[in-house]
Symmetry: C2
Subunit: 452 residues, 2 copies
């Protein structure tokens, strides 16, 4: 494990060595849980064990839930049964399920053996859901009340149960079998008079998601309706958990990172860059690089095929990087605009025709401007008007086509079920390299009258 | 304005034509505010005006705040003074300030003239903050109580003020001059006994941001501490507003979109792709394309310089796209990994040395693998071992250097205050095109013994 340095680590280490535990307690008291987790992760194994002993028992489950999986496992193995039970029972159910997905069957058995029945059942439910679905994302830690009680009774139920619930700004109204009837906020509760019945203050017109819904869809719902939490139900309308907005922030960031990596022809890397072993990163990178290298066989063969043209007009070679480079740049611009539009949901399939029209016009506009510049560039360098015309018109043509392909490729890929993010990177530039060579030499053959 | 089609638009249009207003009311009652806003945006001006008349007055400010700026302005101009005042006074202060930033001075004067004093002062405070700062992002709509009252008194204050506050899951404890002393949640309030004093239940160890903080920093704080809302204070510790997590979701998405666009050499486009006029998109794209085109002058000149080598071994030409393409691909991978790592905060400057080491090793590994393949490719195509060796070793060298430059460029740019996102796109590939030509021909000169 590569360790991030933490500004407090050396100081804490010194205090530990001198046995000044109460000073450490004072320092830790001033920190927030995520900061304590960061600090722990920058220390050595034995140091972590010592610090964990000092942290008050009631504060530790929260700190523990901010630790990376590898540190959680490290710490669990050193704890007494009592403390282990305390942490496992108190940590947020969704974080706990994530932990269980990372550990060995042996450790799993050991941990389950110390946990309370309810928490055990909870873990077993949560880990069964497929990754990246609403079910896998949700927590079972939410507040619920029956429908036919008064506001006063509901308040008293919440007083008794709220301490254990992290999320009670929404309270869900359910039948005995967990059928979801409605929802109200803590604010509604405070505003209502105590004798009112819950069904009078609850909202039965609410947004929910299904256990099997993809996390990207769930994120879209959160963004559209500006929500703090969403109930997750099964096909019978029974509530199984809720998803909170802080988990959605992570989903959005993770999905965007995946798209960035795909755009750069890197396979999905699950963990942080510096935390991922060298060999894994190398493997995630080499596949696409090799594939693209092989694809360049086509451009090599094409240039070989056109070598007669190069032999008669050597100057044609000089402009190859400029042509294929500009095609790649213009195509990447279009592909990125459309890919991102599809990802954020602002562009829909039914707008394909509108986008095609737009990208063709854009291609022609950009092509003409760059083509004129290319013409001048080649003309003044070689004072050969026909060569200038060849460069200029190829450039115009290549840019037009690149813009069009770049705009259409993501829509096409998305339609056939491939993530469009791969379209806005090396995959596209390789295609455009080949396209631009063909166009260039065909134009050159015509304008310069070259024959095989 | 280009209109998105809405599945209900034709049906609503028909009902409007037939004058069946009560049926429209029933349909709208079943929809959530963001959906009603979407529906309105798919209708024509006169139709919107008619529908707005039907929507109950108390529901409209929320729907209004979900409309795009252009539709808000359209609707405002058709309203009676009473309704105008109602909407302007009731809409969330941050959304209202956004609206005021978009309208003409004349309209601004007209709107201010109908607004209440408090709301008028509010707008004037909010619009003064620089774009993309915490001040510009915050809302002034938050709940506050003085410190020396009881829980019962606080509850009664909240009952009176809560109806107007959208966000009251956190309540801020302030002095008369708005100095922020602490914070407690609605949950804390419900759990506390009624006779307790607020200072006993409040938390005086809380996270806050400054008015001038950049919105990206604010987003980082939200992500790290899993918050729902954050107080915004001035340098004296006085609270001016709060930022809520739903606005942060928008910030994250917008910043990522900007990064995607920068990576593709497109200047920041503020609005959605299809909503941005053609000429604006063209302008945002052409600048970089022209600059990059001019940069290719270097590669053109280089190839001209090396044309003696091409004349003796024409086959060298065939591999130019493969070499520069592979360099671009490997470099883009590194640049994207590092750029994204910097953006999400997982990579820090102090790790530069660690990253350099890693990217050099990665470059050598990828270079050797691809170099071997390149050697075989060239050898079997031309059965010339020296040409094969030239291609193979140039490829290995070029990939190594590209990976290193790609990894270091974002860190360097970030250090000198340029957004590293521009490094992972056409800017880098153009540099690498030039680098790879130089390396290639130098290697060829050495191995093939070519002299000028």
């Amino acid at each position: 494990m590569e360790k991030k340095k933490h500004i407090m680590a050396p100081g804490i280490r010194e205090l530990l060595e001198k046995g000044k535990y109460s000073e450490i307690t004072d320092i830790i008291k001033e920190l927030f849980s995520p900061d304590i987790a960061e600090l722990l992760q920058s220390l050595e194994h034995e140091e972590i064990v010592e610090i964990v002993k000092i942290i008050p028992r009631e504060n530790f489950p929260e700190i523990f839930s901010y630790l990376l999986g590898e540190y959680q496992i490290l710490i669990l193995q050193d704890l007494t049964t009592g403390r282990l039970k305390n942490i496992l029972d108190e940590m947020p159910p969704d974080e706990r399920a994530d932990l269980f997905l990372k550990i060995t069957p042996d450790l799993k058995k050991q941990l389950l053996s110390v946990m309370s029945e309810k928490e055990k059942k909870d873990v077993e439910e949560l880990i069964q859901y497929r990754e990246n679905t609403a079910g896998a994302l949700m927590t079972t830690d939410f507040a619920k009340v029956p429908p036919q009680i008064t506001v006063e009774e509901a308040t008293s139920i919440l007083r008794k149960t709220a301490l254990k619930r992290e999320t009670i700004y929404y309270i869900y109204v359910t039948t005995d079998n967990d059928k979801l009837l409605g929802v109200f906020s803590l604010k509604d509760l405070i505003l209502a008079s105590e004798s009112k019945i819950i069904t009078e203050i609850m909202n039965d017109h609410f947004i929910k998601v299904n256990l099997e819904d993809d996390q990207e869809e769930v994120a879209t719902v959160f963004k559209k309706y500006d929500l703090l939490a969403l109930p997750v139900v099964d096909t019978y309308g029974n509530i199984h958990g809720i998803i909170t907005v802080d988990d959605i922030v992570d989903v959005i960031e993770k999905e965007d990172t995946e798209d960035f990596h795909k755009m750069a022809a890197i396979e999905t890397i699950e963990d942080e860059y510096l935390k991922t072993p060298f060999s894994v990163v190398a493997r995630k990178r080499i596949g696409w690089l090799l594939l693209l290298l092989v694809t360049y066989t086509v451009s090599t063969q094409l240039l070989k095929h056109y070598s007669y043209a190069l032999e008669s007009v050597m100057a044609l070679v000089f402009f190859i990087p400029m042509l294929s480079g500009s095609a790649g740049n213009a195509g990447t611009q279009s592909a990125t605009l459309i890919t991102r539009g599809l990802a954020t949901g602002e562009i829909k399939f039914k707008q394909t025709f509108q986008i095609m029209k737009r990208e063709i016009c854009m291609g022609i506009t950009l092509g003409i401007i760059l083509g004129c510049l290319g013409f001048m560039r080649a003309y003044f360098m070689h004072t050969n008007p026909m060569l200038g015309l060849t460069i200029g018109s190829s450039l115009a043509l290549v840019i037009t086509i690149a813009t069009f392909i770049g705009g259409l490729l993501p829509i096409f890929l998305s339609k056939v079920g491939i993530d469009p993010a791969i379209s806005a990177g090396p995959f596209l530039t390789t295609i455009l390299d080949i396209t631009s060579i063909v166009i260039y030499f065909q134009v050159a053959k015509m304008l310069l009258g070259l024959a095989q």
